[in-house]
Symmetry: C2
Subunit: 369 residues, 2 copies
């Protein structure tokens, strides 16, 4: 399509980091945040990549809703755990900080669990367990939001009439030896809302069963879908399990961090004085050798993955995939060929380039992304 472009990952990362710095972030957090977004694009998770830079992150900084100069502070700590105040800062940078703390505790104590309150949207959940993989740790990354009085957009609990949870994703990673690492990154809804918005941008219709309009009627037009079904869909097909998982994520993030707390009596979104006003996250890192020698475990992961690859296929299918595998292959390809960007994202980045006076080294895409 006209206006599509391609850009090398390093150039895109430098651009995004510079934009975040000009928007007020310190160099370290700006660089971390750029890593998260460009990683999502490299992995083909374009819903959570630089597509969100201008309309989500920079926009919220402009509005003063994200504090670009915020710092994370530990509110309570043990050798195994921490409860962190994200200071209302950029979720992408906060989450890198929180995951590093979990990993440091895991290296020293074997396990590290960090719950963070007072943060914002942290991008692709998978990035944080991926950080743990770089040190051969088991990694966990979760983010959760709960609207006690219902929200306009989000996941509808089984038998409810309004959205109450965000898509509260679960990401878990296990290290491997030669195979690409196992990296599950899943919304606890059938689809993340970012994919609905991307379908709208691309002029595509949604599969029936992903969402409803704001009257609760099943809908396929991404322009009207505001309410998402939990993973499983209807009660009969196990939708209560997706809803249950969304609540587990919520409690680990907002319950343990204290983001879901009382004292909000003046807030009309509160229930019995309780409300969640910011995003909350949860990060975990676990050393494999608390259980079993690392290399032995990693070889056994390879064998399980290869057993899945070798299994008989459903008619019409040529491959069986393991979580993270398609994204791993996309990453290899995009590291070589560059990251394709659709016209609307290119236009956003060019506007940021002009506004912040940061050069953007785009190439023209030969074919659509």
């Amino acid at each position: 399509m006209e206006g599509n472009a391609i850009i090398q990952a390093d150039a895109l990362r430098a651009f995004v980091a510079a934009v975040f710095e000009r928007a007020g972030l310190a160099p370290g957090p700006a660089s971390d945040a750029a890593d998260v977004l460009v990683w999502a694009n490299l992995r083909g998770v374009d819903t959570h990549g630089v597509r969100n830079l201008k309309p989500l992150y920079i926009n919220l900084i402009d509005q003063g809703r994200i504090d670009a100069r915020a710092r994370c502070t530990v509110e309570y700590e043990t050798p195994l755990t921490a409860r962190v105040d994200g200071g209302g800062g950029l979720g992408l940078a906060n989450a890198c900080w929180g995951m590093r703390l979990a990993m440091e505790k895991a290296r020293q104590s074997g396990i590290g669990l960090v719950a963070m309150r007072h943060s914002h949207h942290f991008g692709a959940a998978g990035y944080y367990p991926w950080m743990a993989l770089q040190q051969d740790l088991i990694g966990i990354g979760l983010t959760g939001r709960f609207a006690a009085r219902g929200a306009e957009i989000g996941v509808v609990p089984t038998f409810a009439a309004v959205p109450m949870f965000s898509t509260n994703p679960i990401s878990i990673a296990f290290p491997t030896a030669e195979e690409p690492p196992f990296l599950l990154d899943m919304a606890t809804s059938i689809t993340p809302y970012n994919r609905v918005k991307m379908y709208q941008e691309l002029g595509r219709i949604l599969p029936l069963g992903w969402g409803m309009d704001d009257q609760g009627q099943p809908a396929t037009d991404p322009a009207v879908v505001r309410r998402l079904y939990p993973l499983g869909g209807s009660r009969e097909m196990g939708g209560h399990k997706g809803y249950g998982l969304a609540m587990v994520v919520e409690v680990l993030c907002a319950g343990l961090s204290g983001e879901w707390c009382d004292g909000h009596d003046e807030d009309d979104r509160c229930f019995e004085g309780y409300a969640q006003t910011h995003d909350a996250h949860f990060f975990g890192a676990i050393r494999v050798d608390l259980f079993r020698p690392l290399e032995e475990f990693k070889r056994s992961m390879d064998a399980m993955i290869r057993a899945l690859h070798a299994a008989p296929k459903e008619p019409g299918q040529e491959r069986i995939y393991v979580a993270g595998e398609i994204e791993h292959e996309t990453e290899q390809e995009r590291r070589r060929k560059g990251i394709p960007l659709p016209a609307n994202v290119v236009a956003d980045l060019q506007e940021l380039s002009r506004r912040f006076d940061v050069p953007l080294a785009l190439g023209e895409a030969k074919a659509g992304p």
Copy 2:
């Protein structure tokens, strides 16, 4: 229906414990195992209750496949973790042993994680996190099985043509103050296979979309359904997420415990020498006060649960449920009125009563269960 009966929980528990003792278990493990089965019936999880006593557990003991005299042994241990050999014993008793070890570690170190290999079917996954709730701990209970060369019955990975995972359930519990505790207990398939079998016993047809016949065709006759869809169903509806969760459970159970290991080259079910020959489990216990004062957390759980209860309902629905709530109410009712048993289960228990010379104090059910 004719032959239905009702029995008080205490009487049923004493009966089951006596049967397990006569079948060769020591008094402690026999009592533990009886608690797990009767708890499932009390909670209305009849698929995983005494229905399985004769055809599953006693049958496997009779065949010598479950070693009634087995003992659990710790193969490797840290203050936070343990890897346990279940000795090929009864999974119900092994799992109580493993969960107690996790809880002891959590009390002493804050967190306890236990992976167990060489075990058998452990009943309702929810019982083990429920044990943790009795000490106000966050509880986790998982069990996993992987068939490297495919199985006759089980969950089919996305795009595969054969079942490779068991229904690998996830159970997680959080303590509450006044509300019933949050207790999620879910197969990572749309339905557990035990429910398919129970539908067959009750002469019921399955909803379309739960399973396939052994040719991979969608089927609703429980007599022919051998293959189950992962939670989510098709790829488009998120079935790869259910499959991904099944693999997470598998790795935590069989990967960390070493149940999934090499050295099985002579076994025709092996892949590259790797196989899983027994069930593996994973138990977790976490102290809430590693993050936040317990009572504060418990009150916040109550508020979240009540906010869900108070939300607007889908047309035609009168209540919004939280995980574990229906089971909690069934438990209150069955503690008063007794546990209803269908005729086929009554017949099994009567046979065990005669065989082991253990009295069974049944009452006649007024209405069907």
